[in-house]
C-alpha cells in the first residue's frame, strides 16, 4: 500500500507508519523465536514529539478556465524550471487562449517565503501552478 494512502487511512500519522513497522518487526521476532532464558528488557522510545497536523480545505474550483488568470510560479530557481514554465505558458496561449497566464519567480532562495507574491496572486489570480523542483 502506498504511504500516502496509509497516511490517509490512519489519520495521516507518520507515527502510525512507524508503528506498522514495529508490528512487522515484532512478527519477525516471533518467527525467529527468542531464547526463553534471555533476559527481557524494555526500551524507551528515542523519538521526539511530532507537531499536530492542521487540515486545510482545498480552494473551491470553477467550472472552466475561461477569462481566468493563472500564475505560473518558479518557486525554487532550480535548473530548467523557468524554461519549463515558459513552455507551459506558450502552450496555454496557443491551446487555451481565453486563459491569461502570468509568469513569476518567487523571491529569495528556495526555502524563503515571499508574502508579496502570495498577496499578488490572491489579488489577481484564479489559480497557480508552482514548479517546486527539481
Amino acid at each position: 500500500m502506498k504511504r500516502r494512502e496509509l497516511l490517509s487511512l490512519f489519520g495521516m500519522s507518520p507515527g502510525l507508519l512507524l508503528e506498522a513497522g514495529v508490528a512487522e518487526a515484532k512478527d519477525k521476532n516471533a518467527v525467529r523465536g527468542a531464547v526463553e532464558s534471555d533476559p527481557k528488557l524494555t526500551a524507551v522510545s528515542p523519538k521526539g514529539t511530532p507537531p499536530p497536523i492542521r487540515l486545510y480545505a482545498m480552494a473551491p474550483r470553477a467550472n472552466s478556465l475561461d477569462g481566468k488568470t493563472l500564475y505560473l510560479v518558479d518557486a525554487t530557481h532550480f535548473d530548467g524550471s523557468e524554461t519549463l514554465l515558459m513552455e507551459m505558458q506558450a502552450w496555454f496561449r496557443q491551446n487555451v487562449p481565453s486563459l491569461k497566464t502570468v509568469f513569476r519567480k518567487k523571491a529569495g532562495a528556495y526555502a524563503a517565503d515571499d508574502p508579496k507574491l502570495w498577496a499578488e496572486i490572491k489579488a489577481n489570480a484564479y489559480a497557480t501552478v508552482m514548479a517546486i523542483g527539481h
Partner: protein
C-alpha cells in the same frame, strides 16, 4: 490563501511531495509530476514533457492541470480541523536485547551499528549528567514552519535516550544537550549530501578525555566516538530526520554522518586564540560549535604541498579554490602547521583568514556557474544582499573574492605533531552553544 494551487515537481520526488502535502494538512492535494530530471533538458524536450503523460497519473500534463483546476472538490478535499499524531509507542518490549537491537534497526532508529539499549535505568543514569529537568522542553513542536524534519519538538529526557543509544557516558551529556539545543541536528537531508562537524573547546575536553592529539579525527577516544554519533541519532529520532526518500534526500550520502567529525581544539599547543574565544566566549568556558557543509579534504592534495619551505597560507588558499562557493571553510591544522604559519607572519587566526579571503579569487563567470549560485545566491542578489548583488552587476571577466567575507574562514588546531598536515572542511559555522549551561 483560497486560491487553487497545483504543485509540480519531477516524479523522483513523488513520495516526498505526498508526505509533505499530508503533513502540511492537504493529504489529497492535486499534484502534477514531470519525468525526472528537468535540469539539463532543452526547451523542446521540456515542451514534450508537457504534452506527454504525467508518469504517475498517465494523463498529459497540460490536460491534467486544466482538469485539476476545474474538477469539483471531493468531501475529503474539503476537510479541515486539527489532528494529533503519534511518534509510535513510548516503550518497546519486553524483549531480548538481540530482538530490541533488531527492532530499533528495522524501524530506522539507529545508524545500523549496534546501540546501547535505552532502558529506563540507563536513561535515568544519563539524566544524572545534568541539573536540568528531564521534562524540560528544548524545542516545542512547530506546525508548518521550516523543513518537515525541523518541526518536531523534544525534551531533555528524549535527548538522554539518544545519548544512551550512542554509548555516551553521563558526564558527556551536557555536550550532547548543548548540541541538541542548537537545533540543527545531524543528517541534514539535502540532495547535496552535506555532512557536519562538531568543535569542542574549553577545559571539559580534558575532563572527558576528548582526543585532540595523535589521531584526533580517528576512532581513538570514547568521547569523540559517542558524542559525534549521538548527533546523527538525534537527527534521526528527535526530528524524524534520516528517512530515506522522505526527510533524507542526499543523493550519495556522506560518510561523515557516522560520527560528524568531532574536533577538540588543542588550545595548549595552538599559538592562537581558541575558536570559542573568537566567537565571544571566555577561555575558561566550555563551548560546542556546530558546522555543516559538503566535505573534509586533505591538504596534502594542495598545489605546492611538496614545496620547501612550506607555504601553508598559499596551500590553504589553493585548496579553497575548489570548494563549494557560498559555503565557508573550517581549516583543521596540526600544531606543526600552525607554528609554521606563525613563522610566516600570521600571529593571529584573523590575519590568516584575511589572507585567504583576499588571495582566493575567481572570475565572475566562474562564480555564476558555480553550484549554489543559480538557485541559492542569485535569489539573494535579487533581494539586494551583498556581496552577491554587487557581484552580479560586474562583467563576467571581473575577478572577485571566492568567499563573501573573511569571517567565513575559520581555523582550529589539533593533531599529534607527527607531521605538518592539515585538512579543510568545506563547512559553514551554524552556531556555538555553552556546554556549562547544560551541566
Amino acid at each position: 490563501m483560497g486560491v487553487p494551487a497545483i504543485p509540480m515537481c519531477t516524479v523522483a520526488y513523488k513520495e516526498l511531495a505526498d508526505l509533505t502535502a499530508a503533513r502540511d494538512g492537504m493529504p489529497h492535494l492535486r499534484e502534477v509530476f514531470t519525468p525526472h530530471p528537468v535540469g539539463g533538458k532543452t526547451s523542446a524536450e521540456l515542451a514534450a514533457y508537457l504534452v506527454n503523460p504525467d508518469p504517475v497519473s498517465g494523463i498529459p500534463i497540460t490536460k491534467e492541470i486544466v482538469e485539476d483546476l476545474t474538477r469539483p472538490l471531493s468531501a475529503d478535499e474539503m476537510k479541515s480541523g486539527t489532528r494529533s499524531i503519534a511518534a509510535g509507542p513510548a516503550t518497546y518490549g519486553p524483549a531480548s536485547a538481540d530482538n530490541l537491537q533488531e527492532l530499533f534497526m528495522t524501524n530506522g532508529m539507529t545508524d545500523y551499528l549496534p546501540i546501547v539499549i535505552p532502558t529506563a535505568e540507563k536513561v535515568e543514569a544519563m539524566l544524572k549528567g545534568t541539573s536540568h529537568s528531564p521534562d524540560e522542553v528544548l524545542r516545542t513542536p512547530l506546525q508548518g514552519v521550516g523543513y518537515t524534519s525541523a518541526r518536531w519538538g523534544y525534551t531533555v529526557r528524549q535527548v538522554a535516550v539518544n545519548a544512551v543509544m550512542a554509548g555516551c557516558k553521563p558526564e558527556y551529556f551536557p555536550v550532547v544537550l548543548a548540541m541538541a539545543f542548537v537545533g540543527t541536528l545531524g543528517l541534514f537531508g539535502s540532495t547535496t549530501s552535506s555532512g557536519s562537524a562538531i568543535v569542542i573547546n574549553g577545559p571539559i575536553r580534558d575532563k572527558l578525555n576528548v582526543n585532540y592529539g595523535l589521531g584526533a579525527l580517528s576512532p581513538f577516544a570514547h568521547s569523540n566516538a559517542t558524542i559525534g554519533r549521538s548527533w546523527t541519532l538525534m537527527g534521526k529520532n528527535l526530528t524524524n530526520g534520516g528517512i530515506l526518500g522522505d526527510t533524507y534526500q542526499g543523493s550519495q550520502g556522506n560518510q561523515l554522518d557516522y560520527n560528524n567529525c568531532v574536533i577538540a581544539e588543542d588550545e595548549k599547543n595552538s599559538p592562537w586564540t581558541p575558536l570559542h574565544v573568537q566567537f565571544g566566549y571566555k577561555a575558561e568556558e566550555n563551548v560546542v560549535s556546530l558546522f555543516g557543509g559538503p566535505d573534509v579534504r586533505q591538504g596534502a592534495g594542495a598545489r605546492g604541498a611538496g614545496a620547501e619551505p612550506a607555504m601553508f597560507d598559499q596551500q590553504i588558499s589553493y585548496m579553497c579554490e575548489s570548494m563549494v562557493g557560498g559555503s565557508g571553510a573550517l581549516a583543521i591544522l596540526d600544531p606543526l602547521v600552525a607554528k609554521r604559519l606563525v613563522e610566516q607572519g600570521y600571529e593571529s587566526k584573523e590575519k590568516l583568514s584575511e589572507y585567504v579571503y583576499k588571495n582566493t579569487k575567481r572570475a565572475v563567470k566562474d562564480f555564476k556557474e558555480s553550484f549554489l549560485a543559480p538557485f541559492h545566491l542569485y535569489p539573494l542578489a535579487l533581494e539586494g544582499r551583498e556581496p552577491y548583488a554587487s557581484w552580479y552587476k560586474l562583467p563576467d571577466d571581473a575577478v572577485i573574492p571566492f568567499f563573501p567575507s573573511a569571517k567565513q574562514i575559520n581555523f582550529v588546531v589539533c593533531g599529534g605533531q607527527a607531521n605538518a598536515f592539515f585538512q579543510i572542511a568545506n563547512m559553514n559555522h551554524f552556531r556555538s552553544e555553552s556546554i556549562d549551561k547544560w551541566m
